[in-house]
Amino acid sequence: MNLLHRRHLLLGALALPAFVQAQDAPLQVVASFSLLADMVAQVGGPAVQVHALVGPDADAHAFTPAPADAQRLAKAGLIVVNGLGFEGWIDRLVKASGSKAPVLVASSGITLRRVAGHTDPHAWQSLVAAQRYVENIRAALVAALGTTRPAQAAAIDARAKAYTAQLAALDTRVRARLAAIPPAQRRIVTSHDAFGYLADAWGLEMRAAQGWTSAGEPSAADVARLIRQLKAQQARALFVENISDPRLVERIAREAGASVGGTLYSDALSPPGTRADSYLKLMTHNADTLLAALAPAPALAPAAAPTAAPTADNSRR
Amino acid sequence: MSAVAPGAITLENVTLCHRDRPAVHHLSGRFEPGSLTAIVGPNGAGKSTLLAGLMGRIAPSTGRIRLPADGAGHIAYLPQQADIDRGFPVSVADVVMLGHWRRLGAWRAGGAAQRAQALDALAAVGLAGMQRRVIGELSAGQFQRVLFARLLLQDAPVILLDEPFNAVDERTTADLLALLHRWHREGRTVVAVLHDLAMVRAHFPRTLLLAREPIAWGATAEVLLPAHLQRARLQAEHWEAQAPWCAVPDQPAATMRAA
């Protein structure tokens, strides 16, 4: 009896540090792509350690998982995905990894947008929807940490609140700037299909660049068609990603009386240390670029956000 | 063309080499002003090379070539036809008008007077009316006449001709020989590389018999003796793969050109 008691104590004593360690170890979170990962990191802070499956500058549609990814999923405490069909490969990957972690669909609860018969998954482009994302993430993190770490949960709540405030502030500033531009002048022609939520949220009119099929050398017919479209729709700005020659974009825009667009970031953050390496910076940059294209006004003031907006970069990429 | 001040060409111990093989070996002598000289010798004797040296295209390895120093002095040169690209699309008139180069320079266009002189020159060589033909359409003889017409226009005191009667028919040869005589009467120094010894005996008062080394240089009758010709033949046949290096002392090589 005595022996048993002492062995238990010993075991308990030995196990205690490990137990305490386990309590302090950050929660392992795997996010499907860099934008989500940044959001989770902003909300979770030191309590979480986030890894993005699809890193900065990478294409989520072309992602091919590696065994290391499956391992990370298996060891994760929480998995965060966008949903809405954005990650076609995630379900199989999670099942294959055998992970028991809860899966958060960050976009639950937002107002969906349908385009050409299916749902547009790029909901994060709307700052309003993004605030919903943050709320979902907060709830999931708090749930995953359990009741064992109330201090951390409280910190997460606080961070989520602050972050949401930043997003809301940015949204307000952009809307204020946009109010100065009459709706008829908010027309943009773009080859992106990823900015529908952004356009809806901020009242921009985005049309697709018609018939620009090839990524190779364009024909005079393509150029003429695009110019006609720009003129007919009185578009003010042109953002085409798949015309590889920046001089050609400049030429087209100039002839149609539109301004040349810069770079708009849609699906991924830029690499760390560059101008769109966090969600907030990315949205700020997109807003700046759009505003500069629509009206030659100075960029958003750095104001309250600690991740200050870089000055509008209107040059070609 | 009026008679011009004569020019003399002096050679002092001249050697002209292709790499380390002498084509002309220690040649000394003088082309008298106003002389009409033929250069003869077996094939490979260095005749064309000598003309190239006189033109300044090859620098002598030893010795010196002294050219006429008077102000009007320049040398007109008739090359072997192979050096000219006859496929080039220019007309006969274009080629003949080049004879005015010294007067017109590189970009002044010729006036009516110059064109008339060019037509006269064409007529003098028997090609009246051919001025608009393209040179690619001419026969070898006709083209040779065109080059002679150009020489006429150049009006030079020294005229060098490299095998001017190769591949040219008898009538053309006779006509062109008449031109040579006319230049000789005008007091120009004329030097021609030739193969036909009968022609040389008949028309050229002076001859240089060259077979790498000078065999004889002087009045034709004294140069073209059987003994000399025999020596020339032997010299040419004597070609060694491992000939010893030449030990004849040389002076620093220089070519002085008239200002």
């Binding site: 017919a221 001089r247 | 220019v90 180069w101």
Partner: protein
């Protein structure tokens, strides 16, 4: 669609079409004589060699200054000029032929350029920045092409005669004291200037294509160097105009359309041109003069 709609209206409606046509015209003006001379000097492949020779210059400029178009163009010009000068010098002073020396130096330049770029890291947009496209001709590019064309014509007018004589009777030129080597180098400078301007405005394919194909085709229609140049200019302009229309009406990429049209003209010329053609060779003339 009326003839006007088909042939003229696109240029009236769109500024980029007008600029493209003017660029073709300007390039054709200087490429006419330059291309003709290249063909006559048997340097027809020189244009393509030059396109590769300018790489190390652009690479050095990029390494020193960054992605700046004027700097890279200047670097490219200097590099191509150096290659042309060295090749010309070697050909003149040694027994090497011009085409062999050019090949030697441009290959060295190309490899040096590739090495410089690889050492630095990514090669990406270097060439893209340097080589333009005819639909994207902006004011700066147009000015460059027009300026180079004017300067070329001026220089050519001055040195036309010695340049020609240097081609077909270099001994005569040497005999009369004309500086053949100098004029030849001048010609190479003009060639490089036209090529660099052409690359920048129109891209490599179009620049070299418009330089060579019209001049080559012209030989089936004219004789005499002056007339050849004029015919070459005419063909270049017509192909620019026609190629742009093809691109406009049928959605074909513009650069290849123009060059292929020029190629088509060449093939037709080969077949039925009045001289140096298959027709002249195989279909005998029915009458001839008496003398």
């Amino acid at each position: 669609m009326t003839v006007y709609d088909a042939l003229v209206q696109p240029f009236v409606e769109f500024g980029f079409m007008r600029r493209a046509l003017v660029a073709c015209l300007a390039l054709g003006l200087s490429c006419g004589p330059v291309g003709t001379l290249l063909v006559l000097r048997r340097m027809s492949l020189a244009g393509d060699a030059m396109a590769h020779a300018l790489l190390p210059g652009a690479a050095v400029a990029f390494l020193l200054v960054g992605l700046s178009l004027p700097a890279m163009s200047l670097g490219a010009f200097i590099a191509a000029l150096a290659v042309a000068a060295l090749a010309g010098g070697v050909a003149r002073f040694t027994a090497q032929r011009e085409d062999a020396s050019l090949a030697g130096f441009y290959l060295i330049a190309l490899a040096a350029g590739v090495m410089l770029i690889s050492l630095r890291g990514n090669s990406v947009d270097l060439m893209r920045v340097l080589f333009g496209s005819i639909l994207a001709v902006d004011d700066a590019a147009l000015l460059l092409v027009a300026g180079v064309a004017s300067a070329s014509l001026l220089v050519l007018a001055l040195v036309w005669r010695p340049l020609l004589v240097e081609c077909f009777d270099p001994n005569f030129l040497r005999a009369v004291g004309g500086r053949g080597a100098l004029h030849h180098q001048l010609f190479l400078v003009l060639l490089v200037a036209n090529l660099v301007a052409g690359f920048q405005a129109l891209g490599t394919l179009m620049a070299v294509g418009l330089l060579m194909l019209p001049a080559i085709a012209a030989r089936c229609w004219a004789h005499g160097v002056g007339r050849l140049s004029v015919v070459a200019f005419g063909i270049a302009t017509a192909c620019g105009w026609g190629g742009l229309l093809l691109s406009y009406h049928f959605g074909l990429p513009s650069g290849p359309a123009i060059v292929l049209l020029a190629g088509g003209v060449y093939l037709v010329s080969l077949a039925v041109g009045p001289r140096d053609s298959l027709r002249a060779r195989f279909i005998t003339a029915h009458r001839h003069r008496t003398a």
